[in-house]
C-alpha cells in the first residue's frame, strides 16, 4: 500500500496559547531521507509527533495518500532521541514489539538481530547496554513489522562518532529498502552525508523546504546561514 504523498495543510499546534507549530503546509512525495532542521524549540519534535499521531490535530490536517494518520499508523514507527527500552533482554524487547504489532512472521526478530548485527547482545538486559547499542536496538524495534515510514528524533545526538557512523549507515540502508525516513537532526555534517530533502523550521514555521543539493548551494537568510556556520 502506497502511503505517499504526505500532505500537511495549515497545521497549527499551541501550548498555553504559544504557537509550537504555526501554519505548516507541506507536501512530501519521495521515498528518501527527509531531515527536519532547526534550533532548539523550533518545533522539530512536535512536527514528528504530529505526523505520528502522538499529537492530536484537526481532521484532514495531515493526510497520507489522502488517508488520515490514524488509518496508516500501523505502518509507521518511531525512534526516540533517548532510547526507550524495557527492563528485559534485547531479544525480549524485540519480541514484545513483534507481539504488540501482531507480526505473524516466525523469524522476524532473528532477522532484525542479524540485520543490525546485534546477536552478541541479544540475551543481555537492555539496561546494561551502551548508548549506541540501545539506539541500535530501538531502531530494530522500529523495523519490526516492516513499516513504510520511520520517524527518527535526533537518533545520533548522544552517540560517539563510531556509533553515529554505524547508525547513519543503518538509516541509509533502511531508506534504500523502500522505507520513507523522516528525521530531525542538529548535525549539519550529518545532514550533508545522509540528507536528501531538507525542511528548516524556525519558531514553529517552515522557512525552507527543498533538496539537500539546493540547500547547500542556495543563499540563505541569516538564521539558516548562522545555523550552517555553527552547526
Amino acid at each position: 500500500m502506497k502511503i505517499l504523498p504526505l500532505k500537511v495543510n495549515n497545521l497549527n499546534y499551541l501550548i498555553n496559547e504559544n504557537f509550537i507549530l504555526k501554519n505548516i503546509n507541506l507536501s512530501i512525495n519521495d521515498e528518501n531521507i527527509t531531515i527536519i532542521l532547526g534550533n532548539n524549540g523550533a518545533g522539530k519534535s512536535s512536527l514528528l509527533n504530529a505526523l505520528h499521531d502522538l499529537i492530536k490535530v484537526p481532521k484532514n490536517t495531515i493526510t497520507w495518500n489522502n488517508l488520515p494518520t490514524s488509518s496508516i499508523k500501523i505502518m509507521q514507527s518511531m525512534v526516540f532521541q533517548t532510547p526507550i527500552l524495557f527492563n528485559r533482554s534485547v531479544y525480549d524487547n524485540l519480541d514484545y514489539i513483534k507481539n504488540k504489532k501482531k507480526v505473524l512472521s516466525k523469524y522476524c526478530v532473528e532477522k532484525i538481530i542479524e540485520k543490525l548485527n546485534i546477536k552478541n547482545i541479544e540475551n543481555i538486559n537492555a539496561k546494561y547496554l551502551s548508548g549506541g547499542e540501545k539506539q541500535k536496538v530501538s531502531i530494530g524495534m522500529a523495523l519490526i513489522g516492516e513499516p513504510k515510514i520511520i520517524f527518527l528524533d535526533e537518533p545520533t545526538s548522544h552517540l560517539d562518532p563510531q556509533y553515529k557512523h554505524e547508525i547513519e549507515n543503518i538509516i541509509k540502508v533502511i531508506s534504500t529498502n523502500g522505507i520513507k525516513v523522516i528525521m530531525t537532526s542538529h548535525d549539519v555534517s550529518q545532514i550533508k552525508r545522509i540528507g536528501e530533502e531538507i525542511i528548516f523550521l524556525n519558531k514553529g514555521e517552515i522557512i525552507y523546504h527543498n533538496s539537500i543539493k539546493k540547500f547547500i548551494n542556495a543563499s540563505h537568510c541569516d538564521i539558516i546561514k548562522n545555523y550552517i556556520m555553527y552547526g
Partner: protein, 227 residues
C-alpha cells in the same frame, strides 16, 4: 528479665503446642487471603488510574491517601456497625468470624496498595507512555506492560501490604472477637496474654512475628537488588 523467664520462652519454642500452631496458621491464613483479595482489586485500579486525569481519578487518589492513615480501630468499628445483627450487612452473619477479620484486613490494605501501585505505575508511564502511544496500544495493553515493567517494585508494594495486614490488632479484635481456636491470631493473642500476665507466650508470638517481618524485609531487600 530473668534466666527463668528466657528458659520458659525457650521451652515454649521447643514444645510449640497445637493451640499456638492454630493461632499462627490462622494469622497467616487471614493475612494472606486479605492480601490476595486486596491485590487483585487494587493493582488494576492503581494501574488504570494513571490513564485518567479527571475528578474521579483525583477523588480515588485522595481517598486512598487519606485511608492509608486511617486508625484500624476506627475501620474495625465501622465494619462492626455494618456487619452486626442490626447493621445493613448483618444478614451475612460474619461478625466474630475469620471472614470478618479478612474483610477488615482487606479494607485496611486496599488504600495502601492502590496508592503505592499508582505511584509506581505513574513513574513507569512517564517513561514508556510515548512508546506505548506510538504502538497504538489500548489502556489494557498499556496497563499490562506497565505492571510487568514495575514488577519488582510492585512485589515490594504487596509485601508492604502484607506487613500491614499481619501486624493488625485493633480492627480484627473488634470484628473477630478474639475467640479461642476460632478467631484468635498472633497479634490479638499477644494483647490478650499480656493482659493475663502470660508474658512468655506473648514474647514467643512476638518473636515469631519478628521472624516473619525479618523474612519479608530480606525478600524486599533482595528484590530491590534486582532493579
Amino acid at each position: 528479665m530473668s534466666i527463668n523467664f528466657l528458659e520458659n520462652v525457650f521451652n515454649l519454642i521447643i514444645s510449640l503446642d497445637k493451640s499456638l500452631i492454630v493461632i499462627i496458621l490462622l494469622s497467616l491464613k487471614t493475612s494472606l487471603l486479605a492480601l490476595l483479595i486486596a491485590t487483585l482489586l487494587s493493582l488494576p485500579v492503581g494501574s488504570y488510574l494513571v490513564f485518567y486525569n479527571n475528578k474521579f481519578q483525583y477523588f480515588i487518589i485522595l481517598m486512598s491517601n487519606t485511608f492509608m492513615g486511617l486508625p484500624p480501630v476506627v475501620l474495625g468499628l465501622l465494619i462492626y456497625i455494618l456487619i452486626s445483627k442490626s447493621g445493613i450487612f448483618g444478614f451475612l452473619n460474619i461478625l466474630y468470624t475469620p471472614s470478618a477479620m479478612i474483610l477488615s484486613q482487606t479494607l485496611l490494605i486496599i488504600p495502601i496498595i492502590i496508592s503505592l501501585t499508582y505511584e509506581e505505575i505513574y513513574k513507569k508511564n512517564k517513561k514508556y507512555n510515548i512508546l506505548l502511544n506510538s504502538l497504538n496500544l489500548n489502556n489494557y495493553s498499556k496497563a499490562k506492560t506497565l505492571i510487568y515493567e514495575s514488577r519488582y517494585a510492585l512485589i515490594t508494594v504487596i509485601l508492604t501490604g502484607y506487613g500491614r495486614a499481619s501486624a493488625e490488632v485493633g480492627a480484627i479484635l473488634i470484628v473477630g472477637g478474639n475467640i479461642n481456636n476460632y478467631t484468635r491470631v498472633m497479634t490479638t493473642t499477644i494483647a490478650n496474654e499480656t493482659n493475663k500476665g502470660n508474658i512468655e507466650i506473648a514474647v514467643l508470638l512476638g518473636i515469631i512475628l519478628l521472624i516473619i517481618s525479618l523474612i519479608i524485609t530480606l525478600i524486599i531487600r533482595s528484590i530491590r537488588k534486582l532493579y
